[in-house]
Subunit: 150 residues, 2 copies
DNA sequence: ATATTTAAGTTCAAAAAATGAACTTGTCAA
DNA sequence: TTGACAAGTTCATTTTTTGAACTTAAATAT
């Protein structure tokens, strides 16, 4: 497989990477989730070259993850806003956050709150039936089409 | 920030990317989860250049995600095995799988089974208190140290 | 015992991508 | 109407990736 054929691979992980797998992309999305929505905001927060930022914002729009909107009180200034498809990437970033918090930080840095009930959330997967937290070994991916299991 | 300073950023997402954010890395891990554990197995499954594969396997070992083990019944052949730290990346891949299944596939390709109770799992985040599935908007990350919220 | 194949790499030149600085264009504010 | 700022583009340099050929060691076949 070639890297630029990811989008047509028979694997959902590969196809997701075709959208968020380029250098800097996930960090740009992190800024969007933080409501940092402008070109120079991304640049200031991340320090990436403008040409790369420009290219990433373009493909994220093409992939339907971000929408470019004219800033209401300032034409010639733009906001890059997450679409539903983009907001639905939040679990990906939250699981990365949880893993990084556990393994890459001296001490935990984050608490995730559920805004409906106010409780603390461990961004882990739970079994909807028995309610147990899923350990790494306790899930099995079953193939339903031609795609390879995980 | 420079890309190679990710590891010291005050953000768990950034630090996680320092481990899994390079080109091909997540796909190599996907193969490990599929029990494809050998150098030429990675090469055959992914078609990436050997030099890149070699470099990625080295850093994954340095980061404690993979262990290189001599194949018991075949010296001079090696298995790259996920450590606990590596297996704990499974939720990251599962959330990517779920997103890709929803947005990048013609029809769903995967069912995730809980091996303890046998039920189907939607790899989404659930609230441990009210048991509701968390929608994108319903979580809030609260800062506990100097790190920026998500 | 020797030759061949296979696995797991390394090396290196060419191509592609990222980087950083300078330049452009369109608003807004003084 | 001048100056500053936001949002880019352009382009030369550096870094990374790629793909092919080469290396080394162990297993297998002759």
């Amino acid at each position: 497989m070639k890297w630029d054929e990811l989008k047509t691979e028979p694997c959902s992980v590969a196809r997701t990477l075709s959208v968020i797998g380029e250098k800097w992309t996930i960090l740009i999305l992190r800024e969007c989730f933080r409501k940092n929505t402008r070109f120079d905001g991304f640049e200031a927060a991340l320090g990436l070259p403008r040409a790369v930022l420009s290219a990433r914002l373009k493909t994220l729009q093409e992939d339907g993850v971000l929408e470019k909107k004219i800033n209401p009180e300032h034409a010639g200034r733009f906001d890059y806003i997450l679409t539903k498809k983009g907001r639905d990437l939040r679990p990906v970033l939250l699981t990365m956050l949880a893993w990084g918090d556990q393994y890459m930080m001296d001490k935990p840095t984050m608490i995730v709150k559920h805004t409906l009930c106010g409780c603390d959330i461990v961004p882990e997967l739970y079994c909807p039936k028995c309610q147990n937290k899923l350990e790494a070994e306790e899930t099995r991916v079953v193939e339903v089409t031609q795609s390879s299991p995980l």
